[in-house]
Symmetry: none
Subunit: 207 residues, 4 copies
């Protein structure tokens, strides 16, 4: 039993198609039965795969759903709409569109809830979902700075803190509006939100 400590392992390799099928089946099941109704046995059946195959690759429901949901947010992008206000409105509406999909709604909040007692899961969410989208804030800010809408920020540490703050404000407000308040995130709301974020409460009118 000496060799094979590195590189090509002997035996039959894992099927590449299986992982894809499993993640797709996970999203499909999330749509139909939601997080709490989702069972790994059902996912395996939908994917045409044995339960053991699934457990060989993911340690449980939480990790599987994080991977399945993370892919959904990769379609976010920030086309240049000419002004910071328009850019914010655009990304808010894109984000809302993703949150309108059932697999994102129930999957995202559920894994966040689970992560409150599972540090490894929380870190996995931050890496796979949260930090992966922060580039949107950076792009939007530098574009606005190039337009002269925002001042330069010389202190890099302060700059990072501000990016985090803005990300939390945008993502938090949209999620709260969509999932907790359960009110529509439409163009009107997005415009009001962008106006408030840009000019603050003290401006004479928020809309």
């Amino acid at each position: 039993m000496q060799s094979r400590t590195s590189g090509t392992r002997a035996g039959r390799p894992r099927s590449a198609a299986a992982a894809t099928a499993i993640l797709a089946a996970t999203r499909e099941a999330l749509v139909e039965v939601g997080w709490s109704g989702l069972t790994l046995g059902d996912v395996a059946t939908r994917a045409g795969v044995a339960k053991t195959t699934l457990y060989r690759r993911w340690s449980g429901k939480n990790e599987l759903v994080v991977d399945a949901v993370a892919e959904l947010f990769d379609e976010l992008e920030l086309p240049d709409r000419g002004s910071l206000a328009a850019d914010i409105e655009g990304v808010v509406l894109q984000f809302a569109a993703i949150l309108a999909r059932p697999e994102a709604r129930s999957g995202l909040m559920a894994v966040v809830a689970e992560s409150t007692r599972d540090d490894a899961l929380r870190e996995r969410i931050r890496e796979s979902i949260v930090n992966r989208q922060k580039h949107l804030v950076l792009e939007g800010r530098s574009r606005a700075q190039a337009r002269g809408e925002l001042p330069e920020e010389p202190d890099p540490s302060e700059s990072a803190r501000t990016v985090d703050l803005i990300f939390d404000m945008i993502a938090g407000a949209v999620v709260h509006r969509a999932l907790v308040s359960a009110e529509p995130v439409d163009t009107e709301w997005a415009r009001s939100f962008a106006g408030l974020l840009l000019h603050g409460l003290t401006a004479s009118t928020t809309a």
Copy 2:
């Protein structure tokens, strides 16, 4: 023969002590085992109550946790700290203190996740948690208007929309910071957030 058409119901009345004990036991169990590990049988045992008593009053885990968590937020208040910025900072820190408690962290997000597929539950959350705290925004605004920090808002419909928007922004940002980004909501962050909310991105400095 008109009896019992109103008011006093026949039979042994429900124990008032049971409800209190059950809700307290629910929070205790949330602290120790979290949402996914929470069992109604365990809650009943902790409360010194039969499982049937619990099911007679709540239809399931979701509804029970909503009620147990909602009580936590009733301790929020808005003491007058002299300025709108200070008031916002204060309520943000209070809210963060509640979200630091394990029973709130895991309970709140979990029921929100469940509510994405259960309209009755979503409505229950709105009534018991969200709308119950909106008075804080109203108080803060009228106090700020009395101080002259904010202009009057003549249109009542527009006024209500603004209250909702501000509530989503504050609650959303704090929840996202605390639970999704998993970063501390401390005095410094609260000050930055209040500054940004008051003056907007276009102000020269956020801190």
Copy 3:
């Protein structure tokens, strides 16, 4: 629940009617749902009585069913059909007719089963059901002796043993045929049985 639809409305003399109603409701429930599906709550509801009233008079399901079933067997009688063989055939068919009723089938065997671990219940069954019917054997024998079909039996102790033996043989055979073998107890079978009981296996023909 208006109840008390008849006459005397002053006091509360319902006590007497309750026992009758409860026993009738027990038999009705036995017919519809059988022994294992019979619940005391259901019996109480059918009888228009509170559960507490029922428990005040019977200690449980077993005792209640013994009383309800015992009454069924009181309709057995032994009309003189002219010969011992005809008398035996007659009582066998009467007994079979009772065992064809669902409340007797399931009720009788169930309480016998319970009585294997409950001495008080066994004694109650013997008093209320078994010994109450032994007079049939006595009558049949003395009638046959008067006809000269059977010899006199001088020893009273031996006489009692024989009565018990014959009772066990008749009742046992009919119960076994009807409930265990689940074959019909019809005129033909009754005639074969009576012939065998009268003349024994060694007679050349049993039918």
Copy 4:
């Protein structure tokens, strides 16, 4: 890809030891707590088996107890004691010895009671218990015919009816004496019974 169309079923095979352990545990539990106190969860625990394993193989308490009790009767046999009377006495005493065991007493009557409302159960009892022991009557008769104690029976249909009749009389009388009358089935009673069965009531003396 044609494989597994017959014979070898896929997946892990059922444990042979489990069935044995479960049936033994069922009898053990019947002895200790009786039919009405018997719990499938308790049986599973005693057998060192999960409740699901038990439900995978039996549909409920009734079916399980039929199988557990049926095995008890397989120890019945008919050694040649030299005469028909002695053979009958012998099998009666053997049967009584089995019915003296608590697991047989409460189990047998209970499933018979249940079978009054469950045709499938009744058929199962007939196959597993009743018909399985009828060979005893056949053996005893042919042995007696060989000895010249009984005449030959030419009509096969009549012959089968007589076997059923005798079986009902023997089994019924013993069960009734042991469980309903609750009197001992001892050598004296067995001798009286055999005498009556052989020679009938009309013979001058039954003992």
